[in-house]
Every structure is written in C-alpha cells, then in structure tokens.
Amino acid sequence: MSLSVKHLLGIKDLLPSDIELILKTAEKFKEVLQRPIKKVPTLRDTSIVNLFFENSTRTRISFELAEKRLSADTINFAASGSSVSKGETLIDTAKNILSMKVDMVVMRHSATGAPHFLANHINASIVNAGDGINEHPTQALLDAFSMTEKLGNLKGKKIAIIGDIMHSRVALSNIYCLTKLGAEVIVCGPPTLIPKHIETLGVKVSYDVRKTLEWCDVANVLRIQLERQNKPLFSSLREYSMYYGVSKSLLDSVKKDIVIMHPGPINRGVELSSDVADSKQSIILDQVENGVAVRMAVLYLLAGKKDNLI
C-alpha cells in the first residue's frame, strides 16, 4: 500500500487507486479528529515547511493543523516580510530552508508550475497547496471526500462546477479528480469564463445555471477571481449574480435536493446568496472540517514513502 507519486503536484498525476487510498486513509484520520486527544505521534520525526507565496486562510491553517495533529514540526513562511522581497530566488529560498533539515514542503504560489519547477531542484516531497490557475489538489480531494460522505461512491454521480472555471485551480483539480473517480461533470458559467477546448478533459459545458441545477446532484460553486482577471470578462458583478449566481429562489424552483459546495472564500451575494450558503443543503463547513483529515492523509502517505525523506 503506497502512493504512486513522490510529490502531490496535481491530481493530473494521480492514479484512481491513489485517490481512493487517500480518501480511505482520510476516513481514519477523521475518526482521530473526533477523539478526546486529536493527535497521533506518527510524523514526530518529520519537519514540514509551509511556503506560502500567496495569501491563504483556510488552506494554510488546515495544513498547519494537519501537520500538528500528526506531531510533525512545522515552520511557516510567508513571502511578505521574508528575504523574497530582497530579491532571493525561489530555489535559493527553498534550498536554504531545506538545508536546515526540513523533510517536506507545502507550497502555494501565484505562478502556475512553481511547485513542479521546485520538485526538479530539491529532494524533499512537495505538496502543492495551489499554483496559479493550474491545480489545488488537496481542495479537490477534500471536495471528493465530502461528496462521498454525502452521496456514497461517486461513480455515475452528477457534479456541476459553476462559476469562474477559467481562473480556478479548484475547477481543474476537481475535474481531474471527479472524472478519475467515474463521476459525470458539467462546467457552467459565462462563455468568457470557460476555457476553450475544456471538453477534451471529459466534461460537458453549459451556459445555463437553471438547466445545470436541474441535472446535477452536487453543485460546486466557485468564486469569481477578480484578482486574476486582467481584462473585463463580464459587465458587472450584479449582472453576473443575476445570470449565474445561485440564489434561494432559483434553488427552490428546481425542486431537487442538491448538495451545495464552495471552496471558500465566498463572495456572498455574487456567486452564492447568503441564505443558500448557510442553508441545510450547504456542506461548506463540512468541507473545511474534512480538509484537515484529507491533508493528514496526504502528508502521512507521502512521508511514508521511504525514499522521500532526506
């Protein structure tokens, strides 16, 4: 029993059996997190650095908590306030930190492919915590875990990913993960926010939220990533919200019990209205809870590959 990869750079590189192993292991860690003492000694001889070159709340806290609950030693690094602002390169920063005997790197970077680049230059295992508009593998894994918890095996289940597909690393990782697990996926959003040729990844495209909701079992609603949009792709947030936002009245009119998910942070009233985000159908906070267990599973399985540790 072990993963086929040394790093978790993206779901693209994983086998379906890897995903299943991670989800199965995460179930066990979820049980650990319900105990009076929510900590196991497994990674007590492992040091992990969290390299965050981009802002994060959930992912950073979730990774740090996962590391601590596995008894690993953690070091946090944020680009602001570090020597990066003095012009130090990515490789130099990483090599300097690793020379202090750090075994694993959790990394977020605004440049697509930054963790893949680093993986070619350093020895330690790398976990991608989001790179540009490419992938956010642990988010996809925790989404799959949360969906499985709610719906059972995902084979043949209908999942809609709604919103800014173009700039979302969550969308891409979700597409890889869900199709590998045998689910049917539709991406839905305004044409300007859906990349061309996305059908080649095995998903269908829809521009109609109502039809998409009528079709799906789960709606994973994504944030409009204004910070990554260099040119205007829709006229206004208000217009976006009217045509592509998921509101209570829209959801009620579909007359179907759809599970609502969102990777956070939510722009309330834009892609998702507050009453939907806080409704019983929403499992947004379960997603956050499951994130810790899933990240524990990823770290455990990667650290357990013997040649991983330096």
């Binding site: 029993m1 066990k28 049980e31 650990v32 105990r35 003492i37 196991v40 497994t42 650290a303 013997k306």
Partner: protein, 178 residues
C-alpha cells in the same frame, strides 16, 4: 506449514480464557474489552461472544482499536500499513481495560496499542490477553496476563492464527519450518 492448534482445542482454550476473565472481573461492571486491529479483532470477537453467552444478562462494552498511526516502524522501510477502523464509543477513563491480540511476539504492537489507548483517557488498569505467546522473543518489557498457549519458535518462523470468519477454518499454524 505445521499445525499447532486445531479447531476443537482452540474452542476449549477460548472457553478457558473467558472463564479466567470472569474469575478476575466477576460482573464486568467497570471492565471493557478492546481488540487490536487488524487480527486481534477476530480473537476479541470470539472472546466477547463467549463472555456474552456465559453472562447473558450483562452487556460488556466492546471496542476495536487501530494502532497504525502509533507504530514505531513508520520510517524504517517497507510499505505502509493500511489503517483500520477504530471503534471506541465509550470512555476508558477509570475503567479496567482488557486488551486483546492474537499473537504476542516482540511486544511492539502492544506498546503502540497502549499509546493509542491512553489517547482515549486514563484507564484504571490495563490487562493483556493473547492467544499465542511467543516466548523469549520480546523486544520491550511487556508480558501477557492471560495466555492461550505458549510456543517457542525461532525468529525466522511465523506463527499465524487462522479464523473461520476470515480464512475458512480455525487453526494456529507455524509457517517457515524446515
């Protein structure tokens, strides 16, 4: 493969172990039974069943404990162990705990089991029941309180307990004999 124990003898031994537990714990008012995953659970299922047959009016708390995340061989090579389910829906604080595993060999699994157990509270005391005690092979100072059978085998041999529920027959075998 050499047979050490056949079905009928095994059943007699399980009955004896159950009676020894009753002798020491009488009405099991403060006692809980915990089987260690993965293979100790087959034995603890049987022992728990026997006890409930002998004491039908008492409900004895019974749980299963996985030790995967507490093992001391995590980074010593070889492949990872698959974690199993832990099912302990009662507190062990202040309780007398009977830990159950099938084969006691180096004692390292029990060491991990104790660590795992203490994360669920502070038991009043902990006893160990094993079906097979491989004597003279301990690597940590751990001894059983209840033993089905003691065997002396050399280190490159393996003792395995087979169960009807899992392998189709009840038997204790020694593997690797020449």
């Amino acid at each position: 493969m050499k047979s050490l124990y056949a079905q009928q003898e095994l059943d007699i031994t399980l009955t004896r172990l159950a009676h020894q537990l009753i002798e020491n714990h009488l009405d099991f008012s403060d006692t809980v039974i915990i089987g260690l995953q993965p293979r100790g659970v087959f034995l603890s299922d049987r022992i728990h069943q026997k006890l409930q047959q002998l004491l039908p009016e008492i409900n004895i708390p019974y749980g299963k404990l996985d030790i995967t995340f507490y093992r001391d061989d995590f980074n010593s090579g070889g492949s990872l162990h698959q974690a199993q389910e832990t099912q302990l829906d009662f507190s062990v604080s202040g309780k007398k705990v009977i830990l159950i595993d099938d084969v006691l060999y180096t004692g390292r699994s029990i060491r991990a089991g104790l660590d795992a157990l203490l994360d669920f509270g502070r038991p009043e005391h902990v006893e160990l029941l094993v079906l097979i005690d491989r004597r003279f092979s301990r690597e940590v100072p751990i001894q059983p309180d209840y033993v089905g059978m003691s065997v002396d085998v050399i280190n490159n041999q393996k003792v395995k307990v087979l169960w009807k529920e899992h392998e189709g027959k009840d038997e204790v075998v020694m593997i690797g004999t020449k």
